[in-house]
Symmetry: C2
Subunit: 531 residues, 2 copies
Amino acid sequence: MAQVLPPNVSPERFSKALDEFAAIIGKEWVLTSEEDRNTYLDPFAPGNADEHASAGAIAPQSTEEVQAVVRVANKYRIPLWPVSTGRNLAYGSAAPVLRGTMVLDLKRMKRILEINEELGYALVEPGVSFFDLHDALRERGDTYWISSPAPGWGSVIGNALEHGVGYTPYGVHADTICGMEVVLPDGDVVRTGMGGVQGSREWQIFKLGYGPIWDGAFTQSNFGIVTKMGVWLMPAPGAVANVVVSLQDENALAPLVDTLRPLRLNDTINATYTIVNPYRAIIDDARLQGQVRADIYSGPGVLPKDVIARELAKRGKSPWSVNFNVFDVREAGLDLRLEAIRSAFGKLPRVNIDVQRWRAGEPRPGWARVDPGLFALGIVDWYGGPGGHMNFAPVCAPIGSRVVELYELIHRRFVEHGLDCYLGMLNSGNRGLILNAVMFFNRNDDDLTRRGRELYARLAAETAALGYGDYRAHISFMDHAAAMYTFNDHALRRLNERVKDALDPNGILAPGKQGIWPAGLRSFRKTGDHS
Amino acid sequence: MAQVLPPNVSPERFSKALDEFAAIIGKEWVLTSEEDRNTYLDPFAPGNADEHASAGAIAPQSTEEVQAVVRVANKYRIPLWPVSTGRNLAYGSAAPVLRGTMVLDLKRMKRILEINEELGYALVEPGVSFFDLHDALRERGDTYWISSPAPGWGSVIGNALEHGVGYTPYGVHADTICGMEVVLPDGDVVRTGMGGVQGSREWQIFKLGYGPIWDGAFTQSNFGIVTKMGVWLMPAPGAVANVVVSLQDENALAPLVDTLRPLRLNDTINATYTIVNPYRAIIDDARLQGQVRADIYSGPGVLPKDVIARELAKRGKSPWSVNFNVFDVREAGLDLRLEAIRSAFGKLPRVNIDVQRWRAGEPRPGWARVDPGLFALGIVDWYGGPGGHMNFAPVCAPIGSRVVELYELIHRRFVEHGLDCYLGMLNSGNRGLILNAVMFFNRNDDDLTRRGRELYARLAAETAALGYGDYRAHISFMDHAAAMYTFNDHALRRLNERVKDALDPNGILAPGKQGIWPAGLRSFRKTGDHS
């Protein structure tokens, strides 16, 4: 593979920039060999990973080094793509949107700067993973728990910035952010909230600060590089239960959603729930047993109805189920919650309710999904390895009829494009629901990945016309997802790009991230607008 | 009083602008008579209200009218100060920072556009007050409760934007915001979050949207005019208790704070608490009985120690107390919370714990402070009428020793400046604490108001040096409060003003709000920087 250069940068200028980067952080942390560059390719790329090849990577070790690197990037117009641990799997991993961007790899910045047990927060750097924070808390006696997404090697900062979800009352990770240190695209450094006060000891305890609240604007954006972040931690509960409600009725989705909604709204269910569709029930179980698709079905098209019915029966699974944890400070409080939950779901036909319990002092069980794990990743080899996956994940209000309508459309399109419709519905906070439709593919099967890409683009266009928006997108589809936000001829994108140009006049920070392009690179935008 | 003009605008140009405003919204809604202008003066001004006199007011009735008004304001460089209901009492009411700004009075926009009982939210316009929303919910059967600040005639939008606090689990009002419609300073209109999708039905149920989260940046700011806002509503609880813990020990503040902290952190106490100091205990009780200061004490300086002791005893009050509500979906759940609360506070010496209870079906009691009220305003006549007040309100972590240190400094300075130190500590969310020190004055007593102003400036400078920041400020002191945010030579203000200039190049929107000045008007900034 030949050298990859940033757009509009000559090999000579690029070489000068690399020298200046090396002068700041040391030659060994400026990585441009083919071997190095390959490690930053998306291992789950839906198509040719080279479309998002980086020009290399730079790995600074401190905020000051990040500032200095950013200044050099401005001088030579080298675009930078910050990654924390680079594990944004299904969304591009460590790879940039724009080919020739340099990865700004922050994984060497991995200090846990503070764990405050009086006030329940941690202050961390980008390279701190869920495993790291979890272990540090365990060592201190387990008085606080973290909320972790399915794979635990991701960055606490990166996941919160990308709007990730976990399975505890602190499961909306963006909501657990309290105070950031951010290097702006010109190299200036700002602290948000109370961190704006020199010497503040309130940086991590009060989100609002004085004046505009900035934390949210630095998530899913390319306005700045977050070099420190406060994250709120959950006081260890007194008791936890895991509840699995399984419904044998094929048409159980609407009543399931309508039963969950009031329980989640009044916080009786006080953590993220996951609704599992029939494909997911089968595929999760099959992969757990080491099976791939060919072990179950090798005919044309998606798994047919009769195969689905047979496999569900064989595996003792239901077409629809929901899985969630319930937490309480007190065991008797947990009893009250479970009583209300059993009573509500008990009214549904052909229902089974499984409850497992834990109380303080007992060893923590795997079912709670509150400890970081790696299980979820084995799933991707459903079509045989090397597998990959990407997600289409529109937000839907948890109203039974509405969810069914959107689900049926997504399912129909999966069937038409010949992809098994592996889908989980993750709730977000007390009111939100994300329909996470996963497109698995085998990276050696060009036809399959092509169909997946076409499916994504079609779903984005069709559901946008119905008023839906995707909450997160793979680097290949960030423009498509942004294009769903059509109100007032894409006013939100105009606002984003106006602020982008003000903060990043040279367009060096993560061009194209979330569909936000700096003025000089807007011709790289991939998709026309649906409206 | 002569005509008041915006800075750098001739009477002729101003007159032309007024004609164009009138052409858009009707002559009767362009208000520039002296009588009209007087209604927009701060009735509680700490000094000469004319320092913040407006040039008049404009009252549009729709988003489209706001957009058209903003475009004319740009053409003639007329600064606009948006107010919702204009009840930002203690912080300037409806008056602008910059003399000669025109008030953009949004109180005619007072539609409740939607109340969604399935998902627990309302979509409101700026003129909707807490009373309005409360009444609308009552009419529908009281299945959702609002969180109201002490005076209920304020705007639901205005209070959330200014980071107000209420007394329920939804008491951090900025956290209840979900989705905004915002007219930008150039007249463009944007909807945040899922509202970015044309026809979205998820605008009020998912805060994160796709890309940067903007809602926070439009609070306490001058980046846009919020014309619609989603607000999350609390499902009616099954049971509520009000708890008052009174402590006879003069040194009870630290143990009180340290006992509250873990109970609030794990959400056993699941609503805002208010700690009351001795002055506040006396003054609240005295004003309730129609007494003013002269009825109690008329010697020199602040209330002396012996008078405080006597008045507390006479009124059956304690030097320190805390007041809060506890909510639960289920009565038995409330029992568990109260048991934990009694057990924790029962360990403190010379303690009294008063509990009042309510259960679903009973008439709602006044003590809960969940219904909007007007009581708080009688307080301001402590020094005799016409009274006024303003607040110094730094944020402090709820650690007993730290709170005592900050409180004692504030108290000492109040004594030195000869003002009674009426102070409540309001918690904000699970981790924050705001020390709200109220400076009462009599508006006819120039010496008293002067001392109050000097006290504010001194406290801001001194506590900033210790790492504290104010969370909100009166229009006369917005620059002082902003100046407390010293990190990296005021990097936060640089960021704010950079975005300000990008979005508002003509500097027409609320110049000086929260200390954020547009490029052309920065010479009006009041205070040099402490750092």
